[in-house]
Subunit: 511 residues, 2 copies
């Protein structure tokens, strides 16, 4: 018992008044920030503010395998892209009322609500008396005909707000003949003129199939997609960026910036920050460009250069050693969520593990390891014990290794520690190393959309409704020329089939 | 090999221009937000804008054990508090130039830079020609006489900016006679009239000892403390809040709000969010008040009610089951970083483990466990295996269990899973449960200080300089009446000894 002098700490009793963070969409209890964002005025591209008509481009093909895509889309393949241009006529489109459905598909991305308000406002402006149905909980809402009729009052509190909670989202897909049948029944029951699918690459593939299906059955229901994914990997010439990417990167970059200032202020930690983005490292790259961390690992580069985990570890350790010589024993390292998917030797090891664990019992003595090829065994032994256990124990319902659950940032910290210790023994490193791990993911999917995403999404929604109003189907809304002022943004639609390729998925990599 | 249709993803090539996150303090490359914050004008309490004089309160005592505190502080004990009040005289304080040192001590908190700019601006305004030294890297900078002379140009880029990187911080303490001697040498070498110590409870205890020591040696160097800690547990009647707490809670609350919207949008995850704050759950409580999560665990309540981990788990599981009956299989749960320190049975287990592991070898068969008392053994067996291993393996240099490294949020997820599975077997729960874990800590220590923290810290710095200028020592700068407009804030100093108590630290709990 050592008496020690200390300032007595007391319990919290007073606190200064402050803004309430987002908790509810009831306007009456929304915070100052929420209210200020609701009132934020959005500009529209000029072409959407005047009478417009549609001009068509040349027939389209596909991103790859055109023959196969043409066979899958007999009615839609080859559609030209559509561009909205100002028209002299007072109105180039019919005055008819429309019944439109909208669905949010897949993971959240800031701006989704604005796509919906864009559709709604277009209908109010150009087809007064139209009805907008929001399918609840993603594509399952279409199949089960679970929807909410979206009114002006209903959508108001969601203007310029993050999240998908206006109608919620889900990851179901409309794939089987029975599911297509259910979608048809909903389309008929609600007498739908059109459907807007807000989603990523999978969801837009699905939107294309749905458009083809409705057309083949001679249903009047047309389908337009909207490009959503914070990962930023759904893009092409006509769709320069998917929405949500801009906001997510800004949120992560602010957090990374905070951590960088923290690292420099205390001078004693290396922060390993894993960032969302499994199939693409775009978020990591963009955040690196915004924050200038000490080290950034880009998955695509690792794959292209066929780097091993040992190579990646050595690269990090080399930088740490050089910084240490300069007196800096701290820093920030960015890592994409999907890093280990990009490492060829890891893919090989996982394939072998999936095979072995499906057919063999794992003996405590480790004899099962003899089934691994020498290179894979070497990699397995190189991995920290906790990661070995994760690879052995965490299996999905199909028995496959759950790569996404591996905490890559912690794995790298452990591997870096081992290598630094080795160099210390060899007198090649004299610094101190303390790793801190972070994963920035869910925090960025539902933040307030940036001004860019707010405006971009509103234009996408407006464009999607305009395309439906003009009788278009099987297109993805495309708003371009985004580097220019909003008034000069281009607006149109691009054939979904033109973005498609046939992807061969090997049994060995499953997420 | 199953061919599957997919929209081809392409590599990032274009990106819209956007703001650069904080990377460097060189004004030329600072971001728009940084520049806008640098230019943010701060108001001062009225009393600091006019000639002022000091009035004293009654003699002070201590928070506890006054006889012991009096013995430790023979020169300073009993000092009255000092309040600044407007004065009719043109100037109540001397025109003399001052040499002042300032040091940042301990963990970062948003607003630290503004304390320094407050000191600087006071000196410019009231004692032109004074010199301000910033000791580098915390109290070690005082002992090693490592400092930077802070000029107008030097401090400009740090105005209203987060972090402690202007002069950096450290956790060293000035404790031994040799260390006090080093501090005296620095004070003499730089001819210091005063020193401002910006820190938490430990650092302010240290500031008091330093003030006493300088006074006892007849040095002219006076010492003033400033209340800093994002944990919000350094407070008393005169010091209503420590700086950084307001900003940190706002940053965390925004992230929690994002995660809550995410939870509601996807409807399938329970997010377990661990929040910074080891010795106090104030941050967790404040974030709960700001965001209204589904469940909040408060450490102090757990301790008061003598709850066990099983009680806490059951409480969470009860709520999950009730929500599931209503159709909600998602939610957000806030947990303070120091939760398990508050659970009496865990403290007991850790004490026994520290004792056993110090003297026994741990046999693989687990015979060592027989040394645990029955209740502790039961708790140990109740813990998930990963936590058992952490308790056994992760030891600090003194051989003690590193409680702070236990990921409480993951531990709770695992215990909740086990209990839910049990209730499912008993047909008492039919929902689906997927836990996601988060730790929000470092992201909140170096963010841009809120307007409140910016203004509060500036006033604290101004006050600290004013107190030194008036010849005060051994006080903590206290700015009060914070619920009123800034002009009505009260300004003064409170005897550091009046906040002190003698804390008995048991060998068993060490961090």
């Amino acid at each position: 018992m050592a008496p020690s002098l200390a300032i007595a700490c007391q319990a919290a009793t007073e606190r200064p008044a402050r803004a309430l963070a987002p908790t509810s969409r009831v306007a009456a209890v929304c915070s100052e920030v929420q209210a200020s964002r609701i009132g934020h005025k959005l500009d529209l591209p000029s072409v959407l503010k005047t009478p417009f008509k549609i001009v068509h481009g040349p027939p389209s093909s596909s991103a790859g395998n055109p023959a196969e895509i043409a066979k899958l889309f007999p009615h839609l393949f080859g559609q030209p892209s559509a561009s909205l241009v100002p028209s002299d006529a007072t109105s180039a489109v019919s005055k008819q009322n429309l019944k439109i459905g909208v669905v949010l598909s897949g993971g959240q991305a800031p701006g989704g609500h604005n796509v919906i308000t864009g559709i709604f406002d277009y209908l109010q402006e150009h087809a007064k008396g139209s009805t907008l149905y929001g399918f609840r909980g993603g594509p399952a809402g279409i199949m089960k005909c679970k929807y909410t009729e979206l009114t002006s009052d209903y959508i108001h509190p969601y203007r310029n707000q993050g999240g998908f909670d206006m109608i919620c989202s889900g990851r179901d897909k409309i794939e089987t003949p029975e599911q297509f049948k259910q979608a048809e029944e909903t389309a008929l029951k609600l007498d739908l003129d059109g459907l807007v699918v807000i989603g990523g690459d999978d969801s837009n593939t699905n939107a294309g199939l749905l458009a083809e299906n409705f057309r083949s059955k001679n249903l009047k229901t047309r389908v337009i997609g909207c490009p959503k994914t914070i990962d930023g990997d759904l893009k092409c010439k006509e769709v320069p960026v998917s929405f949500g990417f801009d906001t997510a990167c800004k949120i992560y970059a602010e957090m990374i910036g905070n951590v960088m200032v923290d690292a420099r202020s205390s001078g004693k930690y290396y922060h390993f920050v894993r960032l969302m983005g499994r199939a693409a490292s775009h978020i990591t790259l963009e955040c690196a460009l915004q924050t200038h961390p000490n080290i950034t690992i880009i998955g695509e580069e690792v794959a292209m250069k066929k780097l091993t985990l040992k190579n990646v570890t050595d690269y990090i350790v080399d930088v740490i050693c050089k910084r240490s010589e300069l007196g800096y024993n701290y820093g920030v390292i960015l890592i994409p969520e999907g890093l280990i998917d990009f490492v060829p030797e890891v893919q090989q090891l996982i394939a072998e593990l999936n095979e072995i664990l499906a057919h063999e019992t794992v003996d405590e003595g480790g004899l099962w390891k003899n089934k691994l090829k020498p290179q894979s065994l070497q990699l397995f032994e190189f991995l920290p014990q906790a990661i070995q256990e994760q690879l052995m124990l965490e299996r999905d319902p199909h028995g496959n290794v759950q790569v996404a659950r591996i905490e890559t940032e912690k794995m790298l910290i452990q591997m870096v520690e081992v290598e630094l210790e080795k160099r210390k023994q060899e007198n090649r490193y004299k610094g101190g190393f303390q790793g801190q791990s972070h994963f920035f993911g869910y925090e960025g999917r539902c933040g307030f959309p940036s001004n860019f995403d707010s405006t971009y999404c509103y234009a996408l929604g407006y464009a999607a409704a305009a395309l439906l109003h003009c009788g278009k189907t099987g297109l993805i809304a495309s708003v371009g020329n985004l580097g220019a002022p909003v008034s000069d943004w281009t607006v149109g639609g691009t054939a979904l089939t033109s973005l498609m390729d046939v992807e061969r998925r090997h049994g060995m990599v499953c997420f």
